[in-house]
């Protein structure tokens, strides 16, 4: 998903202090954010508060917002973070299910020094470069699969990678042989590694191919 012209325009207007643009932005995204938060909290009043906090968080982090970033994804990530905070305050288990190493928290909202020193030591520039590469390469592969309507492969890889299912569970669910699942995985990893090699990086930790 990419940022649309209208998203960029509305953000610029909000940055300039345009109250009408801010109202439009709220009208556009409030419903989906409320549905997202309420599906987890099942408490309408609390959900409305979390959404309100989300919009405030958006304005607060706006000076650091990258216009190239998809606005809806950005708002969802703030909402996930606010939701986690809300659950923590209630002593409930926060959610680590949004596929984010930062618990859905937009990096702009992470206070300085928020990450453990040991993590920083291991990660650093190499990890950032790996992540960037993975993002670009995986995006390219998915676009190729979508363009040729290869939904079987997409389903298989989405269950393996996003849901973290084991090969045998994916095979059972999709009516494939385990060998076919392993083959999709092998081919994908091989292509990602090849893309990494061309970029002068290594993705050996991906295993597989």
């Amino acid at each position: 998903m990419s940022t649309s012209e209208s998203d960029i325009l509305i953000v610029r207007q909000v940055r300039a202090g345009d109250a009408r643009a801010w109202r439009q932005l709220i009208e556009r995204f409030e419903g989906r954010l409320l549905a997202f938060v309420d599906s987890r909290l099942r408490d309408r009043a609390a959900s409305e508060d979390v959404v309100q906090e989300t919009f405030i968080g958006f304005l607060t982090s706006l000076p650091h917002y990258d216009e190239k970033r998809d606005m809806e994804a950005y708002l969802f990530s703030i909402a996930a973070h606010k939701l986690t905070d809300h659950l923590r305050k209630q002593g409930r288990r926060p959610i680590d299910q949004f596929g984010s190493d930062d618990h859905g928290r937009p990096l702009d909202e992470v206070p300085g020094g928020g990450r453990a020193a040991s993590s920083i030591a291991r990660s650093g520039e190499r990890r950032k470069a790996e992540e960037r590469l993975l993002s670009e390469s995986m995006g390219q592969l998915v676009r190729e699969w979508l363009a040729r309507g290869d939904y079987g492969r997409i389903r298989c890889m989405e269950l393996l990678v996003v849901k973290g299912w084991a090969n045998k569970d994916v095979a059972r669910h999709l009516g494939l042989t385990e060998q076919a699942v392993a083959s999709y995985k092998f081919q994908t990893i091989a292509r990602l590694k090849e893309m990494a090699r061309r970029a002068g990086l290594s993705l050996e930790d991906l295993g597989g191919a």
Partner: protein, 152 residues
């Protein structure tokens, strides 16, 4: 058997790296989940250890890949496509894939978008309540607009 002879209930297992790994992949029973959560809230040292476990997992890159896929929303339909999905106006193969993405992958963002679109389709009555919520958000946030405007 006297009271003293009765087997003593064993205390909860220590929170080791294996337990933290299970915690990261959501495979702990509820009582252990609550215990680990509480310990994490109380101990900076344990939070640091969790971060180490997270970063040193063998499948770190595969986990990252899943996170990236999810975060970049590589296979999420656009809002417009979801609208067409609701109206049953999509190519059947694509519609079938979106159904999989919504029901099996359980993408929370797309589920939220779909729920919102469904609500919009039904709800002229809810419009007023929504306006009032939006008004409340506006009132509570509008003062921040000035700060941003000053910076540009």
């Amino acid at each position: 058997m006297t009271r003293d002879d009765a087997p003593q209930p064993r205390g909860p297992a220590a929170i080791d790296d294996a337990l933290l790994q299970d915690y990261l992949v959501d495979q702990l029973p509820p009582e252990d989940l609550a215990r680990v959560e509480k310990a994490l809230r109380d101990s900076a040292e344990l939070r640091e250890r969790l971060e180490d476990v997270r970063n040193n997992r063998d499948d770190f890159q595969l986990h990252s890949l899943g996170a990236i896929w999810h975060r970049s929303r590589l296979t999420c339909p656009t809002r417009q496509q979801l609208g067409s999905y609701l109206l049953d106006a999509l190519d059947p193969e694509l519609a079938e894939y979106f159904q999989f993405h919504l029901d099996v992958v359980e993408c929370p963002f797309c589920q939220a978008n779909l729920a919102d679109l469904e609500a919009q389709a039904q709800a002229s009555t809810a419009a007023q309540a929504s306006k009032s919520r939006q008004h409340r958000i506006l009132r509570s946030s509008q003062h921040l607009l000035g700060d941003e405007a000053k910076e540009h």
